[in-house]
Subunit: 259 residues, 2 copies
């Protein structure tokens, strides 16, 4: 039986991870290792300067084991694979995230970073997000059902080396699903406005209050796929070298140095 590790960044009690774990446990051996609370937009953070607390918990689902961790999504995956589990994990699924991880979202996403951490450890890894699923009680059933059916295909096809699959599920009824699209990451940007406020003691503080800028997106992008009610699947890798720029930069610098 496929051994599946599940993590997320919304916390172990979030509806998205619970729906996913319940569905996958119908067929697979499921291990849940997830943050004890919401950890959105943690990026690929690690806890180095504080001890990490871990508690084995009963999440009232037929999973093999479940652990609640006082750390980030990356901490959870590192701990699961190196300290907590004594089984060989076959595949990691991070999610289902409450809200999209499209385009440049992936840079900030704890959901994606948990999956990347799996890939770094050589485990086939998938990040899954529900678009428009910010509501606590959004319907994650279609997403969970899709992953349940998709896992054997993904294992058979193989996930590209040093990469994860980043999956976004449109929040529409089943009969409106328009298929699956292998998509590149879009250029989704935010305005990054800040709200400046004064506390009751006169101190100044700021809240990040960014809104999405609707830029022109490529037809091949995940953003466009979701707009068309398709499930987007993007191969995302963790080697950040801009190889195209390497040679050019070398030449330009040589010219600059020689002047």
């Amino acid at each position: 039986m496929l051994k599946v590790l599940i993590s997320n960044d919304d916390g172990i009690h979030a509806n998205g991870i619970q729906t996913l774990a319940a569905k996958l446990a119908q067929r697979y051996e499921v291990y849940v290792v997830a943050p004890d609370r919401e950890r959105s937009a943690t990026g690929h953070a690690l806890t180095l300067h504080k001890p990490i607390r871990i508690e084995e918990v009963d999440i009232k689902l037929p999973v093999a084991k479940a652990f609640s961790v006082s750390g980030t999504p990356s901490d959870c995956v590192k701990l699961a694979l190196n300290a907590l589990l004594d089984v060989e994990i076959d595949v990691l699924v991070s999610g289902i995230n409450h809200g999209p991880n499209l385009g440049s979202d992936v840079i900030y996403s704890g959901t994606v970073s948990a999956a990347l951490e799996g890939a770094i450890h050589g485990i086939p890894s998938i990040a899954v997000s529900l678009v428009n699923g910010f509501e606590k009680m959004a319907d994650f059933n279609h997403g969970a059902e899709f992953i349940y059916n998709f896992l054997p295909t993904a294992m058979e096809v193989g996930i590209p080396a040093k990469s994860i699959l980043n999956v976004n599920i449109p929040a529409v009824p089943l009969h409106e699903f328009a298929g699956i699209k292998i998509a590149e990451l879009g250029t989704r940007m935010y305005t990054d406005s800040y709200e400046k406020r004064i506390d009751p003691r006169g101190g100044i503080y700021y809240w990040l209050a960014g809104e999405i800028i609707e830029t022109g997106e490529s037809e091949d992008s995940d953003v466009e796929a979701i707009r068309n009610n398709m499930i987007s699947i993007s191969p995302v890798h963790y080697n950040l070298t801009n190889f195209n720029a390497l040679t050019l930069l070398q030449e330009k610098l040589e010219i600059a140095e020689s002047v």
Copy 2:
């Protein structure tokens, strides 16, 4: 005069950022916006669920302005460019980091993420790290001197689109410097061991205690450049799409679906 924004992840009082700011202020208009305390390994985290406190501080250096921020490196850069500064920044320098950011380090690095945030905002951005500079009083002067001289070249040559330059400086005396290498990111890996401990009340906690695995590195890698006492400069981008895998994945999935 070039307007330079400086940030880091070791905190505004760290020796690395202070040495850099002092040197660059000799020639450029310098703005410092940095975390109020150490924020190493924060990855590309953002502060969404807490208000962010900001204080204008006197860092006893001839800089234009300096702000201490109760947030992550990415928060600092977002705030600087969107709320705190009323000037157009020409170039961002993040660092000098205490310790290397080589190979897969960049995924976890707050120093690199501050620079990537600059690039996302369309600002030419450079991350700088001193290898073996974990000691609080390491000598950052060579690194600061290098960046001081390198900035005009970098501006002239141009930093590749949607990318930053990730610079690592070897911690050797000036006469041992062996030049500059445009390098790809190496595959530097850690063992990721965890130390399990018991607190005085019987509670279990873990410390991350990873050590570097010395794997075979490409001759073209930043790790190898540093080993040879060269300054490594790597173009690092933030579009994480694995374009090579897109078509292949498309084909494989079509075959799998049709079976």
